[in-house]
Symmetry: C2
Subunit: 362 residues, 2 copies
DNA sequence: AAGGGGATTGGAAACGTTTCCATAAGGGAC
DNA sequence: GTCCCTTATGGAAACGTTTCCAATCCCCTT
């Protein structure tokens, strides 16, 4: 089948009875041409159904008009939406999107970046396991390839589209404190490989301290624990003293919510749960998940926008973090009134009545 | 910044003190070379950090090693997962994924395909609004470009990775009939532009008839109605006689579920709801959504696999539809026994106190 | 009428590969 | 010692563009 190999500009020129250069000028409107030539060339091009070969162009211009994008997985709606945001922002810019995913694997990550680079992308938009350790990424950036990060906190030498994880997490701790929670937990998956997760913990931790709650309990989950409701319930049971849990993402929060319910703990009466990301599903749950709402599509757009500006030759400038907001949901409430043996647990000053704080805020 | 423009194979050859051809042969292990030459060339290549230019290769081999993929939107997890499936199947094959999305717009669709084609992709994997009407797609296929469809039902001249929408929908109608439902509705969004939706309706309709239920009510929603809970509730109220609704996808089903609940109709006692796709969220709802469970990632893998086989030169062969299964959930039940004033109930069931619903839920 | 200038035009180089083909070198057999 | 064959090697073409530059053509000015 593979019929008449693609029609090239030479075919067009031949049919129009002119030189290649003229055909190129007409088709690109890139130089002086006579009305006559324009007529013949356009006619010939449409007769033949000619389209430019992006490859020929890329070779000669040394620009592929292609942008490489790497995310951990498209199954996670956060990343899928971000890519969609990039996609939409790029539409009409002439740039195409080459995409790769790593499945949260650091080695695949590195290889994928190398792949993208050897495809001669004009720029990169990535979310990696460890951008700060990627030699491929550093090398690319050093050689002048524009790079835009997504979700990562600011990193020396790169521009990133992100939300302020530290601040966002602080605000959650603040709410916990306002409501009178004293013993809070931070739940993380892949803690060691996610700068976002670590920064969220840092912010959460800082604010807990600042509000006199003492250090929150850091609970690191294995993949297995996160996936298996029974195991997660065990973990939860081990931390029965906690009255509020901040999960480093919504999926974890949802898992916690379900595991807790399966243990017979009511939410939020017995346990408050707050997630992070603000995926749509959260709102459909019963009770709806309280979470830090972010806008992945905006992150994608932002990253794409930053990259395009670099591609235009402008100096890379880090932009302000994107806004986040708190989605109230219904999984966050006051801790149950303490029983008498409460102080047994409390090694923290219980001097500040939660109610007061609350009032101050209003 | 844009430092020392990329190192080419010529640079490697120069440094190794040999000709370009030899360098190429060494690096590709594509011909006879002396141990000596091998040594010098590999050394030079690694010294210089050489990588092949995919563009140069593409130009000369007339193969871009790139596959174009078009889906309506990555925000819909069904498509995002399918793309992830493609992605994973392609990893290691040497092919890269160029991706585009149309936002459910037929014109964008067509343009996107043209874009991909002018990027000289070696093959296409697409889900379009109207593949049967796309000139770009037909043209590409005619010229011998391998094309793999996803989700679409079999279409003359193309290979598709799909599930049997007709059969799947029939099975839903069968369940409705088994449970004693007599008046069923089919809820669709973008009915006119979705062959999947139409085929599902066809199957549903056929089985309803076969089981003596009479024709199901076809309810076509506008985007606005689907998005706005209040409007959807109105629509639902207008069809108060229905005891079971089959929604053409899970998001619609979820919306129906919520709208019905807001009207005070209990699910499944007052209304049975079944969705389609089997997105994960459905299981988290209360009650969990009954749905036709499909596996988008498998569809993506399948499409990619079919495409790769065509790229290997094998004749395109349509494969069997992928399996689907029924996820029981808890939104499907027997219709309520009819009361005498049944027909009156149709509009505004204010008879049911919301509290009751609430209690039943606990 | 000749020269000059602007508007068009086409040849050819360059971009980075692969690969065909011819050449060179080395070794074994006569 | 010659010849032939095998093994290595490098030059050059081709892939589809864009663009520099020189050439041509026309028309206008002097």
């Amino acid at each position: 089948m593979r019929a008449a190999s693609r029609v090239t500009i030479k075919d067009v020129a031949d049919r129009a009875g002119c030189g290649i250069a003229t055909a190129s000028r007409v088709l690109n409107q890139s130089g002086p041409t006579s009305a006559d030539a324009r007529e013949r060339v356009t006619q010939a091009a449409s007769d033949l159904g000619f389209t430019f070969s992006a490859i020929g162009r890329a070779l000669q211009s040394n620009r592929s008009m292609t942008i490489g994008c790497l995310v951990p997985s498209l199954v996670n709606p956060v990343f899928a939406e971000a890519v969609q945001g990039i996609q939409e922002h790029l539409f009409g810019s002439g740039y195409q999107l080459l995409i790769a995913s790593s499945n949260y694997d650091g080695a695949t990550d590195e290889k994928a970046v190398e792949n993208l680079i050897s495809n001669r992308v004009d720029g990169l938009i990535v979310t990696m396991i460890a951008p700060e350790k990627s030699e491929a990424l550093a090398g690319a950036s050093d050689r002048g390839l524009p790079v835009s990060l997504m979700f990562h906190d600011p990193l020396e030498g790169f521009v990133t589209a992100h939300i302020d994880n530290f601040e966002a997490a602080r605000s959650v701790a603040g709410r916990f404190a306002d409501l009178g929670h004293r013993r809070c937990g931070f739940l993380a998956l892949r803690f060691s490989t996610s700068d976002r997760s670590r920064n969220r913990y840092a912010g959460f931790h800082a604010e807990c301290r600042a509000r006199g709650l003492g250090d929150p309990t850091l609970i690191e989950l294995t993949e297995a624990e996160a996936r298996d409701a029974a195991k997660l319930a065990e973990v939860l049971a081990d931390h029965g003293d906690l009255t509020a849990i901040f999960a480093s993402n919504d999926f974890l929060a949802i898992a916690v919510q379900r595991a807790a319910q399966s243990l017979g703990r009511r939410i939020p009466e017995d346990l408050s749960v707050v997630g992070f990301d603000g995926i749509d599903v959260g709102e459909l749950l019963d009770p709806p998940l309280a979470t830090v709402e972010t806008h992945p599509q905006a992150i994608g757009r932002n990253a794409a926008d930053a990259l395009l500006s670099m591609l235009r030759g402008e100096a890379p400038t880090q932009r302000a973090p994107l806004p986040f907001s708190f989605r109230e949901g219904a999984t966050l409430g006051r801790p149950r009134a303490r029983s008498r043996d409460d102080d047994r647990v409390a090694n923290r000053p219980s001097s500040v009545p939660p109610l007061e704080t609350k009032l101050n805020q209003g």
